[in-house]
């Protein structure tokens, strides 16, 4: 900005304000959707059919407004925006023009547009490239950017071993089901949804309870000593790309005796001394004891017995969740359940070495 005269800066500002006011006007008059957004772009194109005055400013203001219109993850809209650039006027004709950034402002604008696409995980296609080629040619920096995107982005498209669908559902229940399915390590897990008036507890009328539990977890509850309590803990956050949810778990304190047995069994299996349980070749190998199998739910820091996502994440909904669980887990009726809840947004209390921090933590308790 420093190298330019004030007049042109002023003109640029005016153009930017002018094009943002177009979006502002349409946002107030009509529904904020793809149709309105594209009509704004078309409005500009029909108005500036020949000269395309201020098209860079128009694209920048359009990029800013995309999220507001809910079109920021739509490739077709980005293609539509490319149409705003004048065609065939900015193709460099020589190597020098290529290297000295032919039409730098316009190219930077196109690169920023693609940057935004990257940010929202929008992968361009060949049609996008063809449109870009008509504007800047294949040698320009903007086109190189497109080529890099086409190389790397599809490479990482399916890199996630815990995949999430590209289009996330808007419905909270569907989203919760997705999250539960992703979090359930046990393939055997069944996801049950309680919804509507059939469930006792008042809050479930408007909201839902989606709970995940497997047969192994059920048998773990059955085996649980009814003197020691179970805990409902949460809310923890869980992310599905850009959507976050709050989940709660039903947890038991770790069964130290069993964990010790598992550890012994694992050590025995790993040790070379127990590789063969025979001394002579014709001797039959027979197991001496039943080795307990550790389930995935029995972790060192506790046993996970069920997971839940409720519509409103209130304590009432969790109470009715436990009641719902009692229908499938009769043993749960005898076991005391303690609620250890914190607000999902609240930060974790850090108790440091310093005495000051300890005091602070005590005060908040």
């Amino acid at each position: 900005m420093l190298g330019r005269d004030e007049k042109s800066i002023e003109v640029q500002k005016q153009l930017f304000i002018k094009s943002s006011s177009l979006f502002e006007e349409l946002a107030q008059k009509r529904e904020k959707d793809k149709l309105t957004f594209c009509s704004a772009v078309q409005l500009y194109i029909t108005k500036e059919l020949k000269y395309r005055r201020g098209h860079v400013e128009f694209i920048y203001s359009a990029l800013e407004n995309m999220e507001r219109f809910g079109v920021h993850r739509d490739l077709s809209v980005y293609k539509e925006l490319l149409e705003v650039f004048p065609k065939e006027k900015m193709i460099p004709r020589s190597t020098w023009q290529v290297e000295w950034q032919h039409f730098p402002k316009q190219q930077q604008c196109a690169i920023d547009l693609m940057d935004q696409m990257e940010d929202y995980g929008v992968i361009p296609d060949h049609n996008f490239g063809a449109r870009l080629e008509k504007i800047f040619g294949t040698e320009a920096h903007a086109f190189r950017k497109y080529r890099r995107m086409m190389y790397w982005m599809p490479k990482f498209k399916h890199a996630n071993p815990y995949p999430i669908p590209k289009e996330l559902p808007v419905d909270a229940l569907q989203l919760a089901l997705l999250a539960l399915k992703r979090m359930s390590v046990d393939r055997d897990s069944e996801i049950t949804v309680w919804q509507g008036e059939g469930v006792d507890g008042e809050n479930t009328k408007e909201t839902f309870i989606a709970s995940s539990q497997s047969h192994t977890q059920k048998s773990l509850i059955e085996k649980h000593n009814s003197d020691t309590p179970l805990f409902v803990e949460g809310g923890f956050t869980c992310w599905l790309r850009y959507a976050s949810m709050t989940y709660f778990i039903l947890r038991a304190d770790p069964d130290k005796k069993m964990l010790k047995r598992y550890a012994e069994a694992e050590a025995a299996a790993a040790s070379d001394d127990n590789l063969f349980n025979w001394n002579l070749f014709w001797e039959k190998e027979e197991a001496k004891s039943i080795v307990p199998q550790r389930s995935v739910h029995e972790q060192d820091d506790g046993t996970v017995l069920a997971m839940v996502i409720t519509g409103n994440a209130t304590k009432e909904s969790l109470v009715s969740w436990v009641r719902c669980l009692q229908t499938t887990n009769p043993a749960l009726e005898k076991i005391p359940v303690v609620f250890k809840l914190r607000t999902p947004g609240s930060e974790i209390q850090v108790i440091g070495n310093k005495d000051k921090d300890l005091q602070l933590a005590k005060n908040t308790e």
Partner: protein, 299 residues
Amino acid sequence: MAQGVCRYASIMNGARQVLFHHRIHKVFKQHLVCISVWEKDKKGGNRKPYPVSHIEMIKDGLKMMGPEMKKFGDEMKHKFRADPFVNINDGDYEYIWKFNDRKRVEEWIVSSDHDNNEGQSKANLTFSTNNTALFHGYLSQQVPKDGVVKRTGYCNIRSPTKFLSFKREDNHDWSCFTHLLMRVRGDGRPYMVTISMDRFFDINWFDQYHYTLFTRGGPYWQIAKIPFSKFYVTSKGRIQDKQEPIQLERITHLSITIGDGNEGPFYLEIDYIACMFDENHKEAFAYESYVTDPAHVNT
């Protein structure tokens, strides 16, 4: 004219090569980068002045003499004893960092965009009640209104520098391993694992190798096994056109970054970070290394 050059540089670099599907690999600060033929500072301009005076530094240094001499003695003993070379077998692993001690967790360095006046994110690395390290905080997307920073939101933890006696910097040698193993429990967000290395020439100072640590989310632990062949090279946050496999002989740091562009709280519980040798992993490099148009590479 200087402005023109700066602008040109920014556009050249502005051809920011990649940010993949889950918005992990992100360049947060896109300011005008002045072209120069050499790099002045290994920290790339983020160096802060020393908080203590030279006299105090000498005083502190003298206090260290005792323990450092002992350390030096141990090193010498180790050297002359000449420990035999141990053959590495399939499935062998070594804990590089196991967070079962408060001291080991506190050695790690936590930083966020807030530290560099680039944002409002908060991060913390704490020793949790489960005897693990808990990296948690709040990722903020609020861009400071300084007219320079375009997008923001990152938090990072970095491993402590390995020192020999008398505070000589040492490197990790992982060349015998093929995989990075991490036992973590996350919140479903993708994290980025960065490996930085000690390189001599200034053109390579900012070379870093990245790959993504995808977390499942939920109360269960997961073990991530990332092959080193999948790490790709970047410089100053930009993925490079000219890729080459990671060289594991002189690793200085390993860091874990969150910056997926979603505002909100995050947490990642880490039990250990280890290296592993898998005999069946034959892949040298996961990306093509064919020669592209030399006029377009890295411009």
